[in-house]
């Protein structure tokens, strides 16, 4: 970025913690999370809004964070994979992904999990077909889809 470009303040609540940042207005939410807050669990697969690797929850809704600017989310509450659960206290969806081997290289996994959490909230986990349809924005090049769907089905079944 040009060194003299103006910076603007942005206030976010990230994983329950208030954060104040000064950012270049062109900074995406993804870059703010990764480069400024060092929350590297959110991945960049394409930077074009087309792979889902950067999915986070903004005020509970799933959003591809590479397509939204940090400043557009001023005042919002953001949940990343780091805020969902910890190794000692996994979120049920995280636990289900482990139990179902729902990944291989793991690069799409944080995005898949956040998308899956939102999908259940949206009420779109009624059938495998519905799950597959509503998870189609989250690409997995390793092709772990069968296990991803199984993990989501398991959690949806428990909750629903």
């Amino acid at each position: 970025m040009p060194v003299d470009s103006p910076v603007v303040p942005v206030a976010l609540t990230v994983n329950g913690k208030p954060e104040r940042l000064e950012v270049d207005p062109r900074t995406t939410l993804l870059d703010a999370l990764r480069d400024r807050l060092h929350l590297s669990g959110t991945k960049k697969g394409c930077g074009l809004g087309q792979c889902g690797a950067c999915t986070v929850l903004v005020d509970g809704r799933r959003v591809v964070s590479c397509l939204t600017l940090a400043v557009m989310n001023d005042g919002a509450s953001v949940t990343t994979i780091e805020g969902l659960g910890t190794p000692d206290a996994l979120h049920p969806m995280q636990a289900a992904f482990v139990a179902c081997d729902a990944f291989q290289c793991g690069y799409c996994t944080p995005g898949q999990i956040l998308s899956a959490v939102a999908l259940i909230d949206e009420g779109h986990a009624g059938s495998d077909e519905e799950i597959r349809e509503h998870m189609s924005g989250n690409l997995c090049r390793c092709g772990a889809y069968a296990n991803i769907v199984e993990a989501i089905r398991t959690v949806a079944g428990q909750e629903g």
Binding site: P2, R141, Y145
Partner: protein, 782 residues
């Protein structure tokens, strides 16, 4: 026949029988919890040291072929944040980053051979500045007409490598004498890797010109060598390291190197840490893909549909340089038989030079193209004879006295008859064949297709010297184990499997074995993690290292306790000594006090392989992996839309080291193969610009493309006939080719439109390709 009878080398092999507590268990991936919590660190996630610079490559956007006579980089240098710009003049050593044959300049010195060829690299304080500046160079160019397609290159007769052929018998004479004969041609598309983690490297300069490069590569040793060559320093001054990749699939075998080399050049010049992460568009434009081919064949057969002779010609688009095209296209030839016996055969491969990015390794390494052509031949014979396509396949598969491949290797471990019989039953093939027929006679627009394809895939590098591996195992005095080996983790579960081997050997639980990043500083002179061989060779090397340490411990314990060596074993965290036992940790502590070495480097080389390429004879593979798939699809003959309804797979992994990981590899490989044969289409315009350079225009499978019914099972194997690690078989690549069944099922659906006519279906079977075939069928005379 017992699967255990083969131990010709007299190697000690106790891995077949016995009770195992860690291997052959579906233990979870070592990074599982890290992956689901976002704690797994990929290169872009490493905390950047202060002063880190970012690098972006730049290219000449005007031409795919020609020369630039002048470059103006002043606007690039003037961009705020730019620290320096690198060109060929900044390479102190050799300006080449090719895997072996040469012809891949790091930076072009004036000649442009494809659209996207790197000319310079910008080093800036932010990635954004580097990327923006990279678009500002101005070129004066002389344009030449590019050769883009296979047809262009054939017309111009330009090649990256000489033609190669092998076979046996008087093919033309047998063809002429055959009761029946048919000729065929098909286009087989390429494939973009689309590893979700793009190419990335992070170079950290050290003292004395040392360079430490973190590279998302399947081949750290090659990165090390190429960085050293470019910097003009000894190999020993360079360390290449990779903990994990976010997918590789062959795309990071040779083509991760250029980015590592450029990052290292930038780091050497600026004396600061330098990171190069390719943008997705640049990644798709600048890195090679699966080779696309035109396959032409003539096949003679008898009234029963049995092949008498075949001539198969493959014309591959290699791109502008040789890269790995020699091995890739050889493997197309090695798999042009797939699972079928050709009595007289001649297979030829031309490696055509085009002004497109240099095509490279991709899961299957050329094999899938051969397999697809073989399956087309079977399907065409079925159409001509009116026989069921599965029946034609069964009549042609390898069997007694029909067991020598076109390259002269005898097929000794064929389990296809069992696999086919079982899958035919579990997939309910016969009943579904009848249902598909009934459906097709009821429906005018929608047509169903069903196909059943077998697979045989050769395991070993066909370049013999690559079949070697090393591992380093340390046992510490608290009884914990440090494991390092030459293989790289890209999601395939290699590290987990090798750790299972080590835990099993020492009788420990997996949590006692620490997996560490692959680095040229610990295990040198390694082969790439490729050819599905990662576990086979690194698992063996690790086992050998463990056994060297165990042998020392056993001798020590035997002496200490007066117990015969054959009554000492390692189990449940204990060293079993006769009728008693002592905790492993205690034994290790005592051994240390007694000055016993608790560290070992294991080394393994694959036995039996003897391939001599010049003479086209010998044995290229240690063994074959087998499998079969049955796929059902529905196509819409008005729109070309296609849906995969059901897939059944039975696959042979020998005695699985880890059934959970193996099933995942089979499902994932199949899905990737399905993408290759159905939706993934690469398209260059006539100026040589790749137009499908983002996920918006290049469609890989998503969750909703996976069939509703997807039944995957492991063949109940008695174990690999050859001595492999716990008698398992390699699994990385073979399942991709099971997706040939999807392509054949589409063919079958189109063929139903006019019995007796061979659909001219090309791969990938996109809606457009299906419509072209449907239209041709409607016009065809029977």
């Amino acid at each position: 026949m017992s699967a255990l009878e083969s131990d010709p080398d007299g190697l000690r092999d106790d891995s077949q029988e016995g009770v195992f507590s860690v291997v052959r268990q579906p233990v979870r991936h070592d990074s599982a919890v890290k992956h689901v919590t976002g704690q797994a660190i990929y290169i872009d996630d490493m905390r950047e040291p202060e002063g880190t610079l970012h690098v972006a490559p730049g290219f000449c956007r005007q031409i795919a072929r020609g020369r630039f006579t002048a470059v103006d980089l002043d606007p690039v240098r003037a961009f705020p944040g730019v620290v320096t710009v690198l060109t060929a003049a900044d390479v102190p050593g050799v300006n080449d980053c090719s895997p072996s044959i040469g012809g891949d300049p790091i930076f072009s010195e004036g000649v442009v051979e494809f659209w996207g060829q790197v000319v310079f690299a910008v080093v800036a304080t932010t990635r954004d500045a580097a990327r923006r500046a990279a678009t500002l160079a101005r070129f004066e160019v002389v344009t030449e007409t590019p050769a883009i397609t296979v047809a262009d290159a054939r017309a111009a007769d330009i090649h990256v490598l000489p033609e190669y052929r092998f076979g046996r018998g008087d093919v033309e004479a047998v063809l002429a004498d055959s009761p029946k004969r048919l000729d065929g041609r098909m286009v087989i598309g390429g494939q973009e890797h689309f590893y979700l983690e793009g190419q990335i490297a992070f170079a950290l300069p050290g003292e004395d010109g040392d360079m430490h490069v973190h590279s998302s590569t399947q081949h750290p040793t090659e990165v090390q060598h190429l960085v050293a060559k470019a910097l003009a320093v000894p190999d020993a001054a360079v360390t290449a390291e990779v903990r994990r990749m976010g997918g590789g699939f062959g795309g990071k075998e040779s083509q991760a190197s250029q980015w590592a080399v450029i990052a290292a050049l930038a780091a050497a010049k600026t004396r600061r840490p330098c990171k190069l992460r390719l943008d997705r568009d640049d990644d798709m434009v600048m890195t090679g893909k699966r080779h696309d081919d035109v396959a032409e064949f003539a096949v003679g057969y008898d009234a029963d549909g049995r092949v008498t002779a075949t001539r198969m010609d493959f014309y591959a688009r290699c791109g502008y340089s040789a890269d790995l095209s020699l091995g890739v296209n050889d493997r197309t030839m090695f798999h042009a038989d797939n699972a079928y016996f050709y009595p007289a055969v001649r297979i030829l491969s031309q490696r055509l030079k085009t002004n497109t990015v240099s095509n490279t390794a991709f899961r299957g390494f050329g094999g899938p193209q051969g397999v697809l052509a073989a399956e087309r031949m079977m399907d065409a014979i079925a159409v001509e004879t009116g026989l069921d396509p599965l029946e034609v396949r069964k009549r042609n598969i390898y069997g007694p006295d029909r067991d020598v491949t076109p390259y002269g290797m005898k097929v000794e471990d064929n389990v296809l008859p069992e696999i086919i019989a079982e899958l035919e039953r579990t997939s309910d093939y016969a009943a579904r064949r009848a249902e598909v027929k009934a459906f097709n006679s009821r429906n005018r627009i929608l047509k169903k297709g069903l196909a059943f394809t077998p697979l045989k895939f050769g395991i070993s590098f066909t370049l013999v010297h690559l079949n070697q591996a090393g591992a380093l195992v340390h046992v510490y005095t608290d009884g914990s184990v440090h494991l390092n080996h030459g293989g790289t983790e890209m999601g395939q579960g290699l590290n987990t499997k090798v750790a299972q081997v080590v835990a099993e050997e020492f009788g420990l639980t997996l949590d006692r074995v620490k997996i560490t990043a692959t680095t040229t500083g610990k295990v040198p002179n390694t082969a790439p993690t490729a050819a599905s061989s990662g576990t086979d060779i690194n698992g063996m090397a690790a086992q050998i290292a463990c056994r060297q340490i165990k042998a020392r411990l056993v001798a020590f314990v035997a002496n200490e306790f007066g117990t015969p060596e054959d009554q000492i074993a390692f189990r449940d965290g204990q060293v079993i000594i006769g009728n008693g036992s002592v905790p492993f940790t205690e034994v290790v502590k005592k051994a240390f006090i007694a000055r016993i070495q608790l560290s070992s480097a294991g080394y393994y080389k694959t036995p039996k392989i003897t391939w001599n390429r010049d003479r086209a004879e010998g044995r290229p593979f240690l063994y074959f992996a087998y499998g079969a798939a049955c796929s059902e699809v529905t196509i819409d003959t008005m729109t070309g839309e296609m849906k995969v309804d059901r897939v059944d797979i039975l696959h042979d992994v020998g005695k699985s080291l880890n059934p959970a990981i193996d099933i995942g590899q089979i499902e994932g490989g199949f899905v990737q193969g399905m993408g290759w044969v159905t939706t993934e289409e690469l398209w260059w315009d006539d100026k040589g610009r790749l137009r499908t350079h983002a996920p918006s225009t290049y469609k890989i499978p998503c969750a909703s493309d996976v069939p509703d019914a997807f039944n995957v099972a492991l063949y109940d194997s008695p174990g690999n006939r050859e001595i492999t690690i716990f008698r398992s078989k390699a699994v990385g690549e073979p399942p991709l080719m099971l997706a040939a069944s999807v392509f054949s099922a589409v063919f079958d659906a189109v063929a139903s439109l006019k019995p007796g006519v061979i659909p001219p279906l090309d791969a990938p079977a996109t809606p457009e390709a299906i419509m072209r075939a449907v239209t041709a069928m409607r016009r065809a005379e029977v």
